[in-house]
Amino acid sequence: MELHELEAIAEREQSQRARLRILCCAAAGCQASGSLEIKRRLETVLTAAGKLAEVDIMPVGCMGLCGHGPLVRIEPSGELFERVTPADAEELVAALEGGPCNVPRCDRNHPFFTRQLPIVLRHCGQINPERIEDYIAVGGYRTLYHVIHEMTPAEVINAITRSGLRGRGGAGYPTGLKWATVAKSPGERKFVVCNADEGDPGAFMDRSVLESDPHLVLEGMAIAAYAVGAEQGFIYVRGEYPLAIERLQKAIVQARRLGLLGAQIFESGFNFRIDIRVGAGAFVCGEETALIASIEGRRGQPRPRPPYPAESGLWGMPTLINNVETFANVTAIIENGPEWYASIGTAKSKGTKVFALTGKIRNTGLIEVPMGISLREIVEEIGGGTPDGIPVKAVQTGGPSGGCIPASLFDTPVDYESLAAVGSIMGSGGMVVMDEHTNMVDVARFYIEFCKDESCGKCIPCRVGTVQLFNLLTRLRNGQGSGNDLIEIEALCELMRETSLCGLGQSAPNPVMSTLHYFRHEYERLIGAEVEHGS
């Protein structure tokens, strides 16, 4: 594959594109609400009208407003229709040419659309994720060519460092520094691993990216491999994401066929192959050392760090592990320059972050916003507040490792340090909104139950501590707790945070500690209940 061949594919794609197009969301969310049936119905209607040749019906990735799905967009007008049913097909076809259409439209001027800044999601809902030609037509794989032929590995790492990109898996480790460490660590072989074991309750950012734009992640991984000197990559994706796995498999085969992965990429000396490893349903395998053990075929359990995987990872070799979203940022940084990327966001948190907005919120879906935006803007403007107008009580960020931030702190900017300062974490991007009717003790108990079920059982504080904490919270919720139980809960939280082996156990108490901090009265009220009952 040469650059001119790549451009020829892009030109052919653009010239063959029909003027009239209907884009049906074919990501898992809309598929679940019947988008494939809508697509079939549209095809039948167009065939009957003899217009199938003039109109392209494209399955595309996530269009963001998942809670209002299935979503269908028509081009060139760009109108977006929500809650479409197969019966709407005739009207949608009529709307293509300006005809009457009563299918509900989304307001494209709503802050949900206007306040977003898509970088990672820039192709989502625009291209067919199952065709590499679509990705090439929007400029795909040009950055990889540019990197291989015009940049040294050190220059690539330098660009990533200067961009200020930090790990999007949640901890926010500087990506450039990690790449540099892997590049400098001695090893006869090196590996690049994409962590797609997204498991936080309410989080679906990585799934959406993989289902909507798999090649963006593959290209990011290839650039990373070139930078650190790896020839083998793995994508560790959870088994609960069958559609993402299927699309990744297709994408890898397509890229290999065109010589964009495999040996001598772009006729250079650079070789890189990617294989998929499917997780078997353990949340802890998202922890990097457990993930490594799982890829190696061992029981998915973490081990103490150091040594960090950057020095000693897969089979003891230097291994670069980044999250899906981190890799998805790479091409844009190289394409537009690190200064452009660093100009977005705050002093210490650069670029954008993808969030999965769920819970008691009007606009449930996937959003990408610049770092530094306030929680209030996300919840009230983009999210549109709660569906029933009940005041928002709190928002939970970072899943079972994160905390609950009360509505009184909604002016907190969304960046790594600010979220940590209010007792939560950025996390991978799950954002669960809760209204005034939510019982915060139940919320804490839910997350502890999750951690209890997902603890690997290796270290004692996490294995037994989560169970004891769960029992204490259950007792409290049932009105059988005492003031002493609250003290025990706090002591257990501290023990787990300080002594657990891996991030799962260390951060498992966060939902309890943050609700105890901000909503202590809810816990204390439950103790009072017992006293009343007793008297």
Binding site: G457, C459, V464, T466, V467, S500
Partner: protein, 235 residues
């Protein structure tokens, strides 16, 4: 490479380069509790009892898996560490059936000694009181899961010293259990060589020899290290 000098609990101590903190601490005559560590086996850092404070490091580190470095300042016995250790031992006692008064391994048990060492006189947590099975299908040995603390010393002894890997762990979290082969009765295992190293390594007597009275039961986990040492000298 030159020997390293570090400070442990206020004493200057020298260590050979590459040594683990745990062996250096013990060489210095300082007592530090451990459970999943056994001389002769690889370390896993799972029991969290040997956690120490190292100045300049935010997190506590397991002494068994931390390499010494020059100028390291280590605290092994602060009030905070003592409190954590006690809590961890209490959690273990609440997890399965570890009631010494009615246990045949009483007086012959590392967990019991550990409880005495960390000063545990009562358990503040709710006992989980789950009845686990006892497997006595093997002609020479038995395993009582009620006494197991999941230290995985048997798993490592079987894998690393005997080279068989009959033992492993199944399930996760609180449902974890050591198993033989593919979770079959021990007596039907086709890989077990009946060498008994798992029984030597077991800290609590969850794995026990059959046909021996408790008083006669030798608790000799140090023999694992002797085997490793003997092999080194022979080869």
């Amino acid at each position: 490479m030159a020997a390293k000098t570090l400070t442990i609990d206020g004493h200057l101590v020298s260590a050979r380069p590459g040594a683990m903190l745990l062996e250096t601490i013990r060489e210095a005559g300082i007592t530090i509790p451990t459970l999943c560590h056994l001389d002769g086996l690889s370390d896993v850092g799972a029991c969290r009892l040997c956690l120490v404070e190292i100045e300049g490091q935010r997190r506590l580190q397991p002494a068994c898996m931390t390499t010494v470095s020059e100028g390291m300042v280590v605290h092994t016995n602060t009030p905070r560490l003592r409190s954590y250790r006690r809590q961890i031992v209490e959690l273990l006692f609440a997890e399965r059936n570890h009631v010494c008064a009615v246990c045949v391994a009483s007086g012959n048990c590392e967990l019991q000694r550990l409880a005495a060492l960390v000063g545990m006189d009562h358990v503040r947590y709710e006992y989980m009181s789950v009845a686990y099975p006892v497997d006595i299908s093997h002609p020479r040995f038995g395993i009582d899961h009620n006494r197991c603390v999941l230290c995985t010393r048997c798993v490592r002894a079987c894998d690393e010293i005997e080279g068989v890997h009959t033992w492993d762990v199944s399930g996760r979290g609180i449902d974890s259990r050591v198993i033989t082969d593919m979770n079959q009765p021990w007596g039907t295992s086709t890989t077990c060589t009946s060498c008994g190293k798992c029984q030597l390594a077991c800290p609590t007597g969850a794995i026990f020899p059959r046909g021996v009275t408790v008083g006669e039961r030798p608790h000799a986990s140090e023999r694992i290290a002797l085997i490793v040492e003997a092999r080194k000298q022979r080869w």
